[in-house]
Symmetry: D2
Subunit: 110 residues, 4 copies
């Protein structure tokens, strides 16, 4: 049932259809998608590169920079979901397993 | 109700608790999280840097490299969710709005 | 004597004067310069992100993409020289020492 | 005459011989070298990712972190010189031309 699929699954489906409709799948090797992911992550970092820590915490108070932040977060997520998709990885399962490992690796202070 | 929250929301909640339990929140400025995101994206790209396109498509057939791919996808998602969280951005909403814009910008071939 | 300084040293001097004349030195912490360096390196990688290996080898045959390559190489070098300068590192000395170490670490096939 | 070549040229020559002796040239497409360059730049940025601006300015006072900084600067320079070499770009000429353009684009405050 369509209803039972999560919003994340539906978004992955939109990305697939978007690429297929434009015959972009041939570009979407894991290697190319990983590079595109770094490029978009760097565009997000660029917003903050000359800001002080305090200024960076205030970035969403300007409409223009808030738009850029949302736009670059969207681009990073797009390529992350696409590389996960072509590699057959469920990113939320992978992250929850990583948090499980990190809870052992970085013990809470007692 | 806990049941109504999505797996994505629950994962964001785990990341918040993980950072809070270790008093790491002071490090989590948007600026620092954006840099950490690029660093992790680059670690994912590193897996593929010397591979041919064909070899990159086969990366999940080796258990060792499949583990690395899952692990780095998890790390990228962790920092992406955390920067979105501190900036008050819903990453799935941002991405769906971006796909809406891209459907206009990159018209399908007819 | 001016004549004895190398072209590299003179370029570092130009970068110093350029930043000083615009009072940009306060932005040039090692942390900020390292982020700017990644951002520029990603802009160089972006040129190649959807190209096949063969197409990437042909990138200089188009005047427009050749200009972009030269421009991004210049930007990466600018930030690399500036972070080296604020950290008191001679980049050519550091690289030659690294090659020395790598000649031991990666033995030539005999 | 060997004496007339600059230290930069001699270093490029060492990098060429190093790659040739290991038959690594086939990996050194502009595309792969650009990705490797981003990866190394991100490793440099990683050193600073959780530091305050002030802590980042003090990074060379610890022998261990000073070594990492020199080592990553060396790696970035190695890939930058190699991508410039395979693309036939003189990086110092490219940078000086860029500074010329920037002196017009960003006028000094008067």
């Amino acid at each position: 049932m369509a209803d039972s699929s999560s919003e994340l699954d539906r978004t992955v489906e939109r990305l697939r259809e978007f690429a297929a409709a434009r015959s972009w799948e041939r570009f979407h090797t894991p290697k190319n998608l990983a590079t595109a992911l770094v490029v978009e992550a760097a565009e997000l970092a660029e917003i903050f590169q000359w800001l002080t820590p305090e200024e960076s915490m205030d970035v969403m108070s300007s409409e223009a920079s808030a738009f850029r932040v949302r736009d670059e977060i969207a681009d990073v997520l797009a390529y992350l979901l696409q590389i996960a998709d072509v590699c057959g990885v469920d990113p939320l399962v992978a992250l929850n397993e990583k948090i499980d490992r990190n809870e052992i690796r970085f013990a809470k202070p007692s």
